[in-house]
């Protein structure tokens, strides 16, 4: 690399200034860049247009997008020569293309490195430095240290610029189209109702506009990335200082060739040496050292003292994220052989497909959220339907254990002097009705009072009154061992029919008694 012949003014720039320099480079050298670039891009699009069947031509922009790494290599070839003042003819450029494809890692660039956001920046390492394997990954890592985020932002910015150009061109057509044809075509793209011919024209316009936007933006992108790369190297390798020294050396060489200048120089040196006692330079020009060499310990002390000065003792703390597992990074940037490359390609494709599937599922889940939530509802709200208990308070309350006419059977027991059994049967019957027919969630821990409370919310006041009376009678005989009077019990037998008869319009709040 001949730094002397570099056409740009090399100095340390901020990354955004460097990107601007790239844009300026394209503008300045447009007439050298664009003819070959235009020929390459449009001829390729034309070939694609001719080769691809009409039904699939709408995918040509995708192909153009995918082939961008190929274009980048050609553009970088032109730009790098321009930068060092080497003008390439269109023929030179086209003849270099096969070599570029072969030597710049194009396969990886088109496949698994295609989605890299710092693709433009990394390209210089592949193409100009021709590094491979670990050396390349080390180099890339070093160059990324302060430039990676800017390289990513340049990529994102250029994608957006491309879209802006594309949509602006569409808007321009819409504005300039006196008929509503273009608008109809655009709207028909969503309902798939376009005529074949209309669709053909629409596809053609789409291909042309996208190609135009790529044609305009891609050189800017490559130039900005290239310029960022040069700036990073300037930063690392002090190109600006080197160039300054070279210029100084040239100037001094020119002066030395002039006899008068030589005399003046000698005079100047003599005057200067007479004015300043210790000479600024040692006589031995091979080494610029002090007159006496200090012993190492003393020298160290002096060095330490100098290092204590303000200009050397400044410290600042910079915090940044560092990969813990650097092996992965190395692994990622490794060059692969073809079978390995296919494996990586397959794995990456699978990964992309999975991500696409995840995104699609999230979108679908959002779109069909009502239906999905409706599916979850039964799980959330369905109460656990416990089967009605067979035994409550030690009483068998299964319907089959009870006689068909409970009231009559109870009355018979009562008349036979079996008061406890009679009331027990009546209460069992009531519990059976409550648990089987009224679906009361009666539990083993519920006492008679709890059941009354529970029933009051579900049955009519008339039925609740009867139930209260039966419960009272039952409690009296069960816990006080005292038979209620027959006059009190008779209405309970009579009221059984009313208790089991549930009016059709019975509601929770209760209706008219049956």
């Amino acid at each position: 690399m001949k730094l002397d012949s570099i056409t740009a003014h090399i100095r340390l720039r901020t990354p955004w200034e460097a990107a601007d320099l790239g844009f300026a480079l394209v503008q300045h050298n447009a007439r050298w860049i664009f003819p070959a670039w235009t020929l390459l891009l449009f001829s390729l699009v034309l070939i694609l247009w001719l080769l691809i069947p009409a039904d699939y031509r709408m995918y040509i922009p995708w192909l153009v997008w995918w082939l961008k790494p190929l274009f980048d290599r050609v553009l970088l070839h032109i730009l790098s020569h321009q930068m060092f003042d080497q003008r390439l003819s269109t023929a030179d450029i086209f003849s270099a293309i096969p070599r570029l494809f072969h030597t710049t890692g194009l396969l990886g660039g088109l496949i698994w490195r295609r989605l890299s956001f710092s693709r433009g920046f990394n390209l210089s390492i592949w193409q100009l430095e021709q590094l491979r394997g670990k050396a390349r990954s080390d180099r890339q890592h070093l160059l990324h240290v302060q430039a990676h985020s800017h390289a990513v932002w340049i990529t994102l910015g250029c994608i957006l610029l491309e879209l802006v150009v594309l949509f602006s061109l569409y808007a321009l057509i819409l504005l300039l189209d006196p008929t509503d044809g273009s608008w109809d075509y655009i709207s028909s793209a969503f309902d798939d109702m376009a005529e074949t011919e209309e669709r053909l024209w629409g596809t053609l316009i789409y291909v042309c506009l996208y190609t135009l936007s790529v044609w305009l933006i891609e050189p800017l992108y490559v130039a900005a990335s290239f310029s960022l790369y040069l700036n990073r190297r300037t930063q690392l390798e002090a190109w600006d200082i080197e160039l300054a020294f070279r210029n100084l050396g040239d100037r001094l060489r020119t002066l030395a060739q002039t006899p008068l200048a030589m005399v003046l120089a000698i005079l100047l040196i003599i005057t200067a040496s007479s004015l300043s006692t210790p000479p600024a330079l040692a006589e031995d020009t091979s080494e610029s050292l002090a007159e006496t060499r200090l012993p190492p310990e003393e020298a160290q002390t002096q060095i330490d003292a100098i290092m204590q000065r303000e200009e050397f003792a400044q410290m600042r703390t910079v915090t940044r994220w560092e990969r813990i597992n650097k092996e992965d990074e190395l692994e990622k940037n490794k060059s692969y052989s073809i079978p390995e490359a296919l494996q990586v390609l397959f794995a990456n494709l699978l990964k992309i497909m999975l991500w696409v599937a995840v995104i699609v599922m999230v979108v679908l889940a959002f779109v069909y959220r009502r239906q999905l939530l409706a599916l979850l509802k039964p799980l959330q709200r369905k109460p656990e339907q416990k089967p009605a208990p067979d035994i409550l308070f030690g009483m068998d309350i299964r319907p089959e254990s009870l006689p068909d006419d409970i009231a009559a059977a109870s009355r018979r027991l009562w008349e036979a002097g079996q008061q406890r059994e009679a009331l027990s049967l009546l209460y069992r019957g009531a519990l059976m009705r409550l648990t089987r027919h009224d679906r009361l969630p009666v539990q083993d821990s519920h006492t008679e009072g709890d059941i009354l409370q529970l029933a009051a919310m579900h049955i009519t006041p008339h039925r609740a009154t009867w139930l209260r009376a039966v419960t009272r009678a039952w409690q009296e005989i069960a816990y006080a061992h005292r038979s209620p009077a027959t006059a009190l019990v008779e209405p309970l037998f009579d009221g059984w029919a009313g208790f089991i008869h549930v009016p059709p319009a019975e509601s929770v709040t209760g209706g008219n008694p049956a």
Binding site: F393, G394, M395, S424, Q443, D444, S445, H446, T447, E448, G449, D450, Q475, E476, A478, Y479, A480, H481, R482
Partner: protein, 324 residues
């Protein structure tokens, strides 16, 4: 109505009158009044917990006034001595003999205010009188007037520098009652009653009548003690108490005194309702105040914000009702 014996209806009616009379002074707090009355009828003592200013002292004063009994109040402080509660012997120089000066426990209703502010030694001075209803001074036992009831209060706030009651003493209380803030209407009514034509903020007890005598209270206690309890109900009370001993989340459960207290309180509850027998609902209704101070929560449950009432409700939900 004779003093020595009362029928169930008479006893129940008297209890209703006491409740009504207390209700005139203590607006709202119906549950607190009911539970206090249950403790009185069951011959037990109550521990009342609530923030200051909810009428704990008023409740005791009104109850004492209503039953025409004596009332004494001890404000528990860290420097209170046992003799300050039970009494002591003084040498009378004039008569050259020892005189017994009885302490404030010799009363019908004793209000032990902020009982957890005094150290355990002083708290223990109440143990004998609560259990035996007598006080021993200089080796001689002096019975306290009957009916005797201790109403101790605790403040759930300001726990700094307090002495929590030991389990042995907590067990002596028949019920632990929570007194909550009154509702809006109750508070408005209370403010009207206390401030209307009143000087100061004390309720004028002169407007209340003594509706029973201490002798009648004793007769009511006798009636309550004779309420029938079926073995199935008794078994239910015992099963609940025993269930607390193995319950997940309880450090320890209630002892046999818990079962005894359940049945005693259930009897009084049945009497208040004018019933001559206890049914399982009586046990269930009175279970929380009877057992909440007899169980101790495991630390992890306390950390999770549970209290003993939560766990006792779970115990009740899992304990089968009596099988008949």
């Amino acid at each position: 109505m004779t003093t020595n014996s009362l029928t169930l209806e008479q006893a129940s009616e008297l209890a209703g009158r006491i409740r009504h009379e207390i209700g005139k002074a203590l607006i709202g707090q119906k549950q607190v009044v009911r539970e206090t009355l249950i403790a009185l009828l069951a011959g037990g003592h109550v521990l009342i917990e609530g923030v200051p200013g909810l009428g704990k002292t008023l409740l005791v004063r009104v109850l004492a006034h209503t039953i025409a009994g004596q009332f004494a109040r001890i404000q528990f402080t860290p420097d209170l001595m046992p003799a300050d509660i039970s009494g002591h012997v003084l040498f009378d120089m004039q008569n050259q003999r020892f005189n017994v000066r009885k302490g404030p426990v010799f009363t019908h209703l004793l209000l032990a205010d902020e009982i957890n502010r005094a150290p355990a030694k002083t708290q223990s001075a109440l143990l004998e009188v609560m259990q035996e209803q007598q006080v021993t001074i200089e080796g001689k036992a002096y019975p306290v007037p009957l009916p005797f009831m201790t109403l101790a209060t605790q403040n759930p706030l300001e726990q700094e520098g307090t002495y929590p009651l030991p389990e042995a003493q907590l067990d002596r209380f028949l019920l632990k009652i929570f007194i909550e803030y009154p509702t809006l209407e109750e508070e408005a009514e209370m403010v009207t009653v206390v401030t209307d034509q009143q000087i100061g903020d004390r309720f004028n007890l002169a407007s209340l009548q003594a509706v029973v005598t201490p002798e009648q209270v004793l007769a009511m206690q006798t009636v309550a003690a004779n309420i029938a309890v079926d073995t199935a109900v008794l078994d239910y009370a015992v099963r609940i108490t025993r269930a607390t001993r193995q319950w997940q989340g309880l450090r320890f459960g209630a002892g046999p005194r818990g079962s005894i207290a359940l049945v005693r309180a259930a009897r009084a509850n049945a009497m208040l309702e004018g019933r001559d027998f206890v049914h399982p609902d009586d046990i269930k209704q009175i279970c929380l105040p009877v057992l909440r101070h007899r169980v101790s929560l495991a630390p992890e449950m306390e950390l999770e914000g549970y209290n003993s009432d939560h766990l006792l409700k779970a115990v009740l939900e899992k304990t089968e009702a009596p099988r008949k």
